[in-house]
Chain length 405, copies 2
Amino acid sequence: MIGSDIEGVGTPGVGFHSPFPMQDGFAFSVVAGEPHGPRLGQLTTPHGVIETPAFMPVGTQGTVKGLTPHQLGDVGSQIVLANAYHLAVRPGEETVDALGGLHSFMGWDRPILTDSGGFQVFSLAELRDLDDDGVSFRSHVDGALVRLTPERVLEIEAALNPDIAMVLDHCAPGSVSEAEARDALERTMAWAERSTRHRDQISTRTPMAVFGIVQGGVHESLRREAAERLRELPFDGYAVGGVSVGEERQTMLRSIPWGTDGLPVDRPRYLMGVGGFEEFRVAVEHGIDMFDCVIPTRNARGAYLFRLNDGPLRIRNSAHKLDPGPIEEGCDCLACLEFSRGFIHHLYLRKEMLGCTLGTIHNLRVFHRYLEKARAAILAGTWAEFRSGTASLEEQYRPVAAGSN
Amino acid sequence: MIGSDIEGVGTPGVGFHSPFPMQDGFAFSVVAGEPHGPRLGQLTTPHGVIETPAFMPVGTQGTVKGLTPHQLGDVGSQIVLANAYHLAVRPGEETVDALGGLHSFMGWDRPILTDSGGFQVFSLAELRDLDDDGVSFRSHVDGALVRLTPERVLEIEAALNPDIAMVLDHCAPGSVSEAEARDALERTMAWAERSTRHRDQISTRTPMAVFGIVQGGVHESLRREAAERLRELPFDGYAVGGVSVGEERQTMLRSIPWGTDGLPVDRPRYLMGVGGFEEFRVAVEHGIDMFDCVIPTRNARGAYLFRLNDGPLRIRNSAHKLDPGPIEEGCDCLACLEFSRGFIHHLYLRKEMLGCTLGTIHNLRVFHRYLEKARAAILAGTWAEFRSGTASLEEQYRPVAAGSN
């Protein structure tokens, strides 16, 4: 059990505990595993407890595409991610606030995390004008001028009122020079500090945790420095950001511990925008607790289906036309329990909405099943067996590029 | 109760009972109401009992667009309509057969009716070549030459194996001359007779009822003659077809009894392709038991929502942006119980699939709620009150054109 391992360990970077209390209504405990390795956690929020490691489906605009909240819960989702930037642009955070906040708006009463929109500012926006105070840009929707500062983002998020709010960060592409990565890191740190000050000025209907974000690009020293500096700020959790933004896949995987080694062991850690079997395994081995990624949902809409017992299945392939079997034998999702490959193939070819809905249900269930197995292995102390048992799975899915938000 | 009214009444056109037994596995009884007026029926099929008058959602390609079979059952659908023509073209009836038949294919274990495709032959197909034996045409999909005869249609339907199969008919536009309508009627009658002979040649996994179709255009004498001749053929039920195909709305409503007066009172009667509050009321008053129509589903996808307590609601209208209320106060559908107008408005504007799903759930529930109330009124003997209570509803929705398949 983790408790005995980390008891009394106070050396930063090994078993460092955060000196700051968590936001009222939140708690995090590691119930099994290792402080910087595979660990089974429980993250308590005002809308329920999340068993970690956990995958968060992406519901950018307040809906995971094609699924009702009931269907989302039925596949095993414990928490969903929405995007503060997108919701601020449309329908506007004041609209969500007027409709009772994001949980009420979406019809989802379990935990929600909102991404700040930092990633979108640097990926979607044109005519970006960045300064130390914040960033101005033309909206990706209508070209309207939008100004985001760390304070403004927290105010948007307070109006949305998720359980967990991400701060505004400067997310630089993986290809930038060390000097540019240093620049993004310094700005991210300054914004993080302003965020921790500003969060005391805002009020929310229900308590809202705030997570800081490690940047530093592909540079080990920068990421290690970012984590060491970030943990001095009173955040409720910490994210590793600026990954899977154009750098080599192996570089991304290698960089994870640079960001996590220095983080407090008693706070949840979230690897932003990353999903996939190898990614999950490597990240969990560095103590990551939370993930989000569009890979399962976007690939489902592209008729590319995941399986834990075999390689990917391209359901539009004519080989499936007459197949009475499920997408994946042994899968307990609605799509596998009640429909044949042949029918789902037909739905995709006919561009029937139900095809995407069933594909999304299945792909999300696969991602959740993977992490359920991972959690069970951590609890049972059988991580090594889990790791060797999933090696061929990683191999079969290695060609799938990590997606971005 | 109807039983006492029709007991011993054998005059054709008044209380005429069919001299033919129903297909094994099927039964129909009128449990309240009048033989040619509002009547509460129970249609027993191999996949369950349908309380009539009943509305059948349209699932042309084996799916009601955007809904899982569970969601379809949850809104109160007792039976769903699929289209033999579309399914024969894609994925092919042999594919559906190989996948266990239509119930297994669709994942819907309640009753299914298949339309023959007669309507589509005359509405979608180009280069149609009609003769007394059947019809040849270019597929609306790929231009391939397709040949449909009454026998071939029943064979397609036997492979699909719905509970109820419609025969091939010649569905002429509402605008044709009396001579052309007579021609279509004669061909429909000849095909009906061939269908009753051929049905004995086909075998199905589970018993399949076959319904004949009254044609005759907007001509009273032709429709009355069609019904009188059709009831001499051993069908399990009878449909009024060739309505809502371009004729005036009031003409269509007026023509219903021309087709129904002569039909056996102890067999279910289906008004094809018609839906709407006034249409339901007028048709039920002429002893119609079953309906299908794309109006609720197609309008839902067009953001046009029905309500039983008010006029239509155009959910894209900006008036709904901040509205925390449900689409319709008092509606018991998932969309109304768990989501605000403001959220559904947002989903439609963002073209999120969940918008169409929730709109479809709501519109179907409204149609089913209307007929649930109608059935309750028939049982209670309060049809006159029901009729006067829904007069303003009919007025509010009169501008909505009846849709076709």
